[in-house]
């Protein structure tokens, strides 16, 4: 069995953690060939070649792929698909945008957010915001799969596999990139951080979110937020943890002023240790927390920053 795995490449740089976790998952299915696509991709291809279990890397370098627009990247994948049984990518927003398009072009169903691989045809995935887990068996000739990376450990390193440059596919000329608004931050990336500190509606305002950030910086953590906090404008959308935001599984997750709506729990309940600070002792977050502190966050968080 052969696997084509779309590496997560942003601005020519490989997102190693997400890609290596998808490789670990894909390794169960067969020989893994990585596809690195970007306006520049040589460095990303070289980095991907060193992920343990990778047999070969294809590097498609073209301006068309610079912003990972769904239409050209899908056409590229489809042009390569004949040689592979499984087409896989980590379940990032890019891959979730691209893979269903690929699947429809191949007339197969897509399997999104796969959290477990049973065999070459059978997969587990969360449904109903993680309230149930469904095991499904695909009857399609090719499987197109996005991997929920938080449930797999990243593959290690190996001596580099070979890298082959490939041609771009035709330009479908359907869409063009205008701009990215990316917040610059020195903090670790949310989905791969070892520690995440998240704030919820209880934080109360965008200004008071500084308190969350202060604790995060003390712990060397990434900052997350509940949907309620993002909807209220306290935090940017890319901080959202939950079923429709990011799914994280850090060693330590600190939930502050978060009640614990089911869709938030779906995004963080695989964390190793969960700490909750909330003044409402009935908050559902305490049902999943290893250590719960019933307290006003405006007293407890500054004290915690001081004592850690």
């Amino acid at each position: 069995m052969a696997v084509l795995l779309l590496a997560e490449v942003n601005d020519g740089e490989l997102a190693l953690d997400a890609t290596a976790k998808a490789v670990a998952a894909a390794g169960k299915l067969g020989d893994v060939t990585i596809l690195a696509a970007g306006a520049t991709c040589a460095a990303a291809a070289e980095a991907a070649a060193k992920i343990d279990g990778v047999a070969k890397v294809l590097c498609a370098e073209h301006d068309l792929y610079g912003h990972r627009l769904a239409e050209p990247v899908s056409d590229l994948i489809v042009s390569l698909a004949a040689d592979y049984d499984h087409i896989i990518a980590p379940a990032t927003t890019d891959a979730k945008n691209i893979l269903p398009r690929v699947a429809a072009l191949l007339d197969v169903m897509v399997l999104t957010d796969v959290s477990g691989i049973v065999d070459a045809d059978t997969f587990e995935r969360p449904i109903y915001a993680g309230n149930a887990v469904q095991t499904v068996k695909s009857s399609d000739a090719k499987k197109v799969i996005s991997i929920r990376t938080s449930t797999f450990d990243a593959a290690g390193e190996q001596s580099a596999a070979s890298v082959e440059n490939i041609d771009a596919a035709a330009d479908p000329s359907l869409s063009e990139w205008v701009e990215d608004k990316v917040a610059e931050s020195d903090r670790p990336e949310l989905t791969s951080a070892g520690v995440v500190v998240s704030g919820g509606r209880g934080v109360g305002s965008e200004e008071d979110f500084a308190l969350i950030e202060k604790l995060a910086d003390k712990l060397g953590a990434a900052v997350g937020a509940s949907r309620a906090a993002v909807d209220s404008g306290f935090a940017p959308n890319d901080w959202q943890v939950g079923q429709t935001g990011k799914v994280v599984a850090p060693d330590l997750y600190v939930a502050i002023g978060i009640s614990g709506a089911i869709q938030h729990l779906a995004g963080m309940k695989d964390s190793k240790i969960i700490v909750a600070i909330n003044k409402d002792e009935e908050a559902p977050i305490f049902q999943v927390a290893d250590y719960g502190l019933v307290a006003d966050l405006f007293d407890a968080v500054p004290e915690l920053v001081e004592k850690l």
Binding site: A129, V136, V178, I273, L293
Partner: protein, 252 residues
């Protein structure tokens, strides 16, 4: 320009989901069903385009069981002009896969010729996040998923998307498929007079066969199970005790 909005009837987002004891699926008998929340956002956006003079007609379409009529009446009460129900299942427990839904929607598009399709980014039941992208592929159209802002500009749409790194703005050629994310808008509530009026708006009924689409699933559900429960831990009495416990656990 016509705007087509696919809507799905799903378990209401406030209802606690129960997995059936025999592992065959989630129990949907006698539970409250509503319009998928992301689809409500899509309907709202289409109505706003009409109110802004950028669209002439908003058509809601639902694919599934006969009871999805109610979901379509909700869309009509919000302000959609007419509705199409494509009956593709008899049992409320049979979910039509995104690929088959996209094929049926392609049939609807071929008849209706909309200039824009706005769909929800995912349904809160199967959480597939696939129908919009699959439909764009089958039509050979552009796609703009996870939209938090849409500007129609002649034969293009400029869409800002919620992505992992923040926000990305792209310009897509029309006709296009856009999928709605949470913060695109806040859907309105239907007023009582509009609910009454909606009962008189046209609702056509079709079947999957009318579009020549085979809805046999490609994915066989082997089983549905409860997720692993996470055991609750302990309550600590003070910040000092919390710090101590975290140190003991080697977490800080």
């Amino acid at each position: 320009m016509k705007v087509l909005v696919p809507v799905k009837r799903v378990i209401d987002y406030n209802v606690k989901v129960r997995v059936k004891a025999d592992g065959s699926g989630v129990d949907l008998a006698n539970v409250k069903m509503s319009m998928n929340p992301f689809d409500e956002i899509a309907v709202e956006e289409a109505i706003r385009l009409k109110e802004a003079g950028k669209a002439d007609e908003v058509i809601a379409v639902s694919i599934g069981v006969k009871q999805a009529q109610e979901t379509l009446r909700t869309a009509l009460a919000m302000g959609a002009d007419r509705a199409i129900l494509v009956v593709a299942a008899d049992d409320v427990h049979s979910d039509i896969e995104p690929l088959a839904v996209a094929k049926i929607l392609k049939g609807v598009i071929d008849e209706e010729q909309p200039g824009l399709v706005i769909a929800g980014k995912q349904a809160i039941d199967n959480d597939m996040n696939a129908t919009g992208q699959m439909l764009a592929a089958l039509m050979g159209w552009s796609q703009a998923t996870y939209a938090n802002n849409i500007d129609i500009d002649g034969d293009h749409a400029v869409v800002t998307r919620e992505v992992d790194g923040g926000l990305q703005t792209i310009k897509v050629k029309m006709p296009a498929i856009v999928t709605a994310d949470l913060r695109l808008n806040e859907p309105r509530y239907a007023s009582l007079p509009n609910i009454m009026k909606a009962k008189k708006k046209p609702l056509d009924e079709k079947t999957a066969d009318d579009y020549g689409v085979d809805v046999i699933p490609r994915l066989e559900v082997v089983k549905t199970s409860e997720p692993e429960e996470r055991a609750a831990g302990i309550k600590v009495g003070s910040v000092d005790e919390l710090v101590e416990k975290l140190k003991e656990a080697g977490a800080v």
